[in-house]
Amino acid sequence: MNKLTRFLTVVSLIASVGTFTACKKTFDNPPGASDPGIVANTTIKALKALHTTPGAYDVISSDLIISGVVVADDKSGNLYKQLFIQDSTGGLQVLLDAASLFGTYPVGRRIYIKCKDLCISDYNGTMELGVKALVDGSPSVEGIPSGLISKYVIGGSLNNPVVPIVVNQSDLGTNMQDKYLGSLIQLNNYEFGDTTLTFADTSVYKSTVNRDIKNCNGQTIIIRNSAYANFAGRKVPGGNGNVVAIYTTFGTTKQLLLRNADDVQFTGARCNIFEEYFTSLTSADNNQEFGFAGWTNVAPNSTAKWKNTVFGSTGRAVKVTAFGTSVALDTAWLITPAIALPAGATPKFSFSTAYQFALGPTTLHAFISTNYTAGADPNGATWTQLTTDANIAGNTATNNSGTWSSTVNTGLIDLTSYAGQTVYIAFKYMGGTSPVRTTNFQVDDVRITKQ
């Protein structure tokens, strides 16, 4: 037994040579981020002031250091290889040649940029900070090469407050030095013009697209969205509300860049009580019978129903004609879905028309009813005419030209007396053979505003 004891002693001695622990966590977690001992010696505004000639490449030769908080990163994929940083004097686009920058430089992180040897330039008016490079012999401003980023960009503390500046669209200038360019701004009470679209192109072409938003005063501005954004395939929200975005320009065009879909909070009621621009029609719908849900399209004594028309890249409307009819009085009704006009509102109705092959006295008029039932024969309801021939040029034109007339809006027609009621609006077309009345009409931009 002695030998065994001796042996076991030796074995346990070896075992104690090292500590054979179960292999967990022998490494400390590094400390969290904090601001480094660097002090900015200039502001973003002052740095931008160095770049005065559009398209020039201004390489910074002095030891300038700026500091700003990241206000937009590439997390959603809408931005790519770029960040926007901002201090109290303004915002600036920073180009970094690396993907997934949000990992290191998330929104809210303060960063310091040693600008010496970097280059400030602009892309059609929006300033950018990067490096001057020669690509195939021509100069350009490129992202700081990924391996060199840490030499120029030093990360500081996380979770600094990021508050957009609330502005009016008219405050936004397109001068390269405009104080809001490159900054995170907020516009209140906007909505998408066309709510049938997705944020961006989801086809294989993956092109970047512009989406118009507008306020109730009719001011529009572009939101520019990348097909690589993770919200590209999402439908734009239908309501009205506030949008937070980076303000940029392309020449004199104002453009907004979203950080993610949550930047668009369009959840309130839209400017208009009712609107239909027929934009969801596609080229395949052309000349087909119009049939949007909720609408009524009837021609009680003929077959001249309302049809879709799709022309050009954006032309979308409905049209009607009695051409070729054998009926003396050919009536075609197009009736909206039920529209609730809020009590106390002062609603205004309007729409646009155009005409072709005008042979007066064909008539198109808009009517309103409070006792119609959707889908029923319109002749069973009471209709009050809203338009006069003065509103609709085609009613009196006789030029018989094959060219469509320009589109003319009716102007605002007051519906205040109907406030608090549910109404239907009908477009009633009356053509026929006796007399010959076969003018072609288009109707578009059907809208009832709140006031």
């Binding site: 490494f27 400390d28 060199l148």
Partner: protein
Amino acid sequence: MIIKPKHLLLMGVCLGIASPAVFAQVGRHTDTIPSRDSVLLETLKDNLQDNIPVISLDESEEESGSAQNVSSLLSAGRDPYLNAATFKFSAVRFRVRGYDADQFGTYINGAPMENLDNGFTPYGQWGGLNDVLRNRETTLGLAASPNAFGDFGGVTSFDTRASHQRKQTSINYAVSNRTYTHRLMVTHSTGLNMKGWAFSFSASRRWADEGYTDGTFYDGWSFFAAVDKRISDRQLLSLSIFGTPTKNGRQGPTVQEMRDIAGNNFYNPYWGYQNGRVRNANVAKSFQPVGILTHDLKLNDKTSLVTAASFTYGVRSSTGLDWYNVADPRPDYYRYLPSYQQDPSFAATLRQEMMNDVNMRQINWDALYQTNYGSYETINNVDGIPGNSVSGLRSRYIVEDRAVLTQKFSFNSTINSTVSNHVILTAGVSYQAQNNNYYKKVDDLMGGQFYVDINQFAERDFPSNTSAIQNNLNSPNRILHEGDKFGYNYDLNIKRGAIWAQGNLKFAKVDAFFATQHSYTSFFRYGNVRTGLFPNNSFGKSKTYNFYNSAVKGGLTYKINGRNYVFARGGYESRAPFFENAFIAPRTRDFVQDNLKSEEILSTELGYAMNAPKLKIRATGFYTEFKNGMDVLTFYHDDYRNFVNYALSDIGKVHMGIEFGAEAKVYKGISINAAANIGKYYYNTRQSATVTVDNSATLLSTDDIVYSKNFNVPTPQSAYTFGIDYRSPKFWFLSVNFNYFDNMYMNFNPLRRTEAGVSGLEEGSAAWHDVVDQTKLDAQYTLDANAGYSWMMNRSFKSMKKRTYLVFNVGVSNILNNKDIVSGGYEQLRFDFAEKNVNKFPDKQFFAYGTNFFASIGLRF
């Protein structure tokens, strides 16, 4: 001294070994204890040679298909050629006959040790137990093995049974500059006592803060315990249990550009500084203890029966970084290298920065932690429960652990009967079963609070499909903490049964043998998670695939006289495909290669041997043909943002060559030795490749023809050594060898040798050759020396009663410090099909160590 069974049981439990419940009946006893002094020097040399580094299979190489596995334990080395092949040629990962590791079998105490999933022998399971693995028997090639039908490359059988271990205590300390710095080893064997018991114990620790390569630590323990009980004159019952809990930091293959920047062929991209300390992201961990129970029964004077049952249970794993939709953390990612920059001045600046700043060449752990610290997120519908939200720091970078839990059981019984003076018959039955559970788990959240079990690649492909993105539909959006399993999780289950028989005939002038084996293999995959992309092909049991295979071999030896022999042998076998090569993407689904069928191997050899007192020669010519081989190669593809699998079939190979070895005693203690391997190993078929992506059921391409005919098998084909030994009668020796290697080729990417790979290139143009030609590596040489001295202390200290030896050994390899020896390399599987730029994803390589040594001092009594 008596150890009661309960003590043994206790030890078994300590080592985490479940003893197999099957106790065998009978056995055979072969006494192979070497006598002491006569072979002292041989033992001395063996001891040294045992410590030549075992080159083990690296996972990344495994993925690229170059299974390289040479074990220093392959052979005892009495044969001059085998001796050279095993020890002198190991620097370049020489493989005997160019065969893959699955062509070599290993038995311990009668139990088969190789893995059923890929046929490899898991040498690491007994690493560091050199003292108890000295008794071994090796057959090379098609020679008849006394205890198995054998693989066509050869069979090594170890005998670790306690009563077969030399009765002594040994304490040994070694220092080295290879994978580890220190080794301490203690072994004690009792020999068989009067009551029929024998015990043997061995333990060692091998460790290093940093091995030869930067960032590679080593921490390996080894334990061994064996007990024998001689039940009667005819019966011996033996139990051996051993385990080797090991952890080590790994070394990664590298590209030329990074080696140039680092100024070092041993640049290792796997480590970086964390809080100023070196941390390796790729840590291999292994603890798969083995228990073997062997029963040896002499039925009568002429017949013996050996029965062995073995059980292995344990986890082998390797860590690595995983990341979720953030920048690639690997410092040698191609987009981070100067060559990726278009502007030459940036490239130059970046290059300079990378040369100056070690952190730009290594993993920046601190920065990865910062990313996690700033990653506050809310996860909705956790576990698939609407409204169940979790907020916190979602790790963007983690260390994951890719693990395999193996359970392996074998039962093997062999009867051996000397029927007459001329006839020996051997027959055996064998049953093996293995279950591997493959999974990943979160090893370190790196400062974050959780990780989420979703498939980020699917998320990019199907951003709005909340089902497709799930790694496991059975628990969607699961929040993960450290230790949680995630990602894939599947089992493979393999069973193999075989019967074999062999007849040996011995006559005055002629010996002959004939052997045949019939086997049955069946395997299936069992998915433990339901993958969102393949809900109907990922969860539960797959189809079972069955194979019936046969093999025959035979040989003739003509004895010209007592010293000169000629021999001829031949064999044919069909072999079931390995699981690894059958399932094309087992991580996500249960699809297998089309037309799954057995591989066929035909092999012949013809040789001459001379065995004179002063001269030993062996020369063998061999020719082996492989037909219908299969392979699956997997790699990560940036463009698809996913794992791409190349399923290759119709792999045909020819391995032919000449092995030569000679040893001559020239003057007193001086002898010279020479060995040569002149081989030609090439592919003789056009392979067929089907390409799939883990994340899609669509085949990227089907049955692409790979123009692989006459490409070289990537293993050294020519190797030569010449050496001089001096053995002093004063118990010391010195030997020096010069080795030379040639005809070494890089592993090639099959998809570069397809129509798509060269489309648009003019045939025969320089660009076409760049894409198509296989890279030949430079010829290399090394110079090695070994010395040893054994001091019998009793001679100096007469008072010592026991024979006590103090043994010194030192071995120096690659004395000329040749640091340019590529020991392994492959073309990246990713290829720039658009621009056909072979340098966009350049070759990756490993290098053999420069001058390296191993020195030990041991006390034996």
